[in-house]
Structures are given as structure tokens and as C-alpha cells.
Symmetry: C2
Subunit: 188 residues, 2 copies
């Protein structure tokens, strides 16, 4: 049962996409190689024709998800509004890989960690462009501070089993970021 070249390419894409979603939803360790292959429409045996090990898949899936980042809105406030939404909080499988898997990545391969670090660098650069202020160093500070706030607020909002508290965390974090940016413009 050989398969066409295009089919192979699409299978690889499907495996990566399935792994990316499953890992974000359940974490690296709770997802089985068999789970990923089944979700990709295959059986577990073919896996090792695509990746050398589960650890390799983790690194590849992370790099894949991080490569296709969401488009950057005009400014940081718009980005925060979209990121800190209830829809994003509910959609772990399709949401930010840093908020879902950031804390777990440290314990895996150096390639997985390198992929995350690369994503962090690119995200800081992207957010710097959308930050207010003339001084590049100030914009970089806003980018790092805002990104930390966004990731942390999403983790906290997902922790809370009290919907009211969870909503408040999202709203207050949005306001907190807005307060920073607003202050920026008002400064001499």
C-alpha cells in the first residue's frame, strides 16, 4: 500500500496539524502517538516513517504551530483585545501554544525549546512594531511586558473555575495593558 508523493506530503501536514491541536488541548504527555495518527486518519505503525520519535514530533509540531502566528493588528491594544477574548480562552486546541504548552516545553528536547525561544523572539519583534512610543527601547519594553501580561492572564483565566473571576481577569488585564499604552502617549 504505497501512496502518492502528494499524499505523503499531505499526510505529514495532517500529522503535524493533529499533533499541534492535541498537544495544546491535552499537553505533551497525555497525547499518544496512536492518538495523533488516528486523528490524522492513519494507524500508529506508519508514524516512524515520518518522525524518529515522539520527542521529534513534539519539536516539529511546536515549530509548525509557531511558524503560522496570527496576524498582527494595527496596535498592541487591538492585539490584546483579540488575545484576551473568551473565545481564545475556550479554544485551547487552536489557541496560543505558549499559554498552553510554555511551562511544559522546558522539560522536553532542546529542539522543542529552541523552537519556543525562536517564537518568543519573533513575537517580541512583532509586538514592538505595534507598540507606541518613539524610543525603540521603550517599544521593546512594552512588547515584552505586554506579551508577559497576555500569556499570564490567559493562564490565570483558564485556571479559574469561577466564570466571573475568569472574565474579570481578562478584562482587568486588557485595561492594565491599555493603561500602559495610554500613559505612553500622554508622556512628554
Amino acid at each position: 500500500m504505497k501512496v502518492s508523493r502528494e499524499q505523503v506530503a499531505e499526510n505529514r501536514r495532517r500529522i503535524l496539524a493533529a499533533a499541534g491541536r492535541l498537544f495544546r488541548a491535552r499537553g505533551f504527555e497525555a497525547v499518544t502517538v496512536s492518538d495523533v495518527m488516528t486523528a490524522a486518519g492513519l494507524t500508529h505503525g506508519g508514524f516512524y516513517g515520518y518522525f524518529g520519535s515522539k520527542e521529534d514530533l513534539i519539536a516539529a509540531a511546536l515549530a509548525d504551530v509557531l511558524a503560522t502566528a496570527s496576524p498582527m493588528p494595527r496596535d498592541l491594544d487591538r492585539y490584546a483585545e483579540a488575545y484576551l477574548s473568551a473565545a481564545h480562552r475556550e479554544d485551547r486546541a487552536g489557541g496560543c501554544p505558549v499559554a498552553a504548552l510554555g511551562a511544559e516545553t522546558i522539560r522536553h528536547s532542546s529542539k522543542a525549546r529552541a523552537a519556543m525561544t525562536d517564537g518568543l523572539r519573533r513575537q517580541i519583534d512583532r509586538l514592538s512594531e505595534g507598540a507606541g512610543g518613539a524610543d525603540p527601547e521603550t517599544r521593546r519594553q512594552s512588547a515584552i511586558g505586554s506579551w508577559a501580561t497576555l500569556v499570564g492572564a490567559m493562564v490565570l483565566a483558564r485556571i479559574s473555575d469561577d466564570a466571573k473571576l475568569s472574565d474579570e481577569v481578562l478584562a482587568q488585564a486588557r485595561a492594565w495593558i491599555g493603561r500602559q499604552n495610554g500613559d505612553e502617549h500622554n508622556h512628554p
Copy 2:
């Protein structure tokens, strides 16, 4: 081989302490019941005299760690300085359980999640006391925004395999929080 009443109490304390450290260091799933019992100086068989299941242990260990929070410094800036330190970044096993396990807790028992939510509520209250500003609602916003920034910055700093970038994340997040508090005092 019975054991004295005090020994039982100390064993329980040792099991919880070992579980708290191991979970923070390796995550819930990578830690074995046997690992915890060995670290507590016992063998795996006695575990089910103390807890009904591993899931129960997770909830109890989380509640235990969250109950003994670090003392609140005078103001939010001092707290951020201590939290966003290189020492804390390195000490996963003894550090903040939210930064280490927050994202994973969602996938476990409702008791574990409730313990985390309770910890979040208490932390917001604690940080509100150290926040600047006269208006209680503004102080609460500073507490939530700062806490999100602290947790997120620690996650990001631990992700980076580039020490320079990791240090910068900690420093910029500290400055970002300080900018908020500083602005606060200067406002009319």
C-alpha cells in the same frame, strides 16, 4: 510494622512536600506515585493508606503548596523584584506553583482546579494590599495585571534557552510593572 501516630503525621507531611516539589519540577504526569513515595522515604505500597488515588494527591499537594505562600513585601515593586529573580527562575521545584503547573491544572480533577482558583483569589487580595492608589478598584486592577505579568514573565523567562534573552525578559517585566506603579503615584 506499625508506626507511631506522630510518625504517620510526619510521613503525610513528607509525602505532600515531596509531591509538591516533584510536581513543580517535572509536571504531574511525569511523576510516579513510586517517585513520590521514594522521595518521602517510603515504598510505593503504603501510598493508598494516605491518599485514594494519584489524582487525590495532586489536589492535596496543590492545596498544600498554595497554603504556604511567600510573605507579601511592602509594595508590589518589591514583590516583583523577588518574584522575577534569576534564583526563582532556576528553582522550579521550590518556586511558584502557578508558573510551573498553572497550565496543566485545567486537565486534572475539579478539586485541583478549585485549589488553584482559591490560590488565585487569595493572591489577588494579597497583591491588592500592596498596590498603590487610593481607589480599591484601581488597586485590584493593578493586582490582577501585575500578577498576570509576573506569571507570564516567569513562564517566558524559563522557556528561553538564551540566557541573555531570559534575563532581559525578567528585567523588562520588572520595569514594565514599575512603570505602572510609578505612573500611578504621579497621577492627580
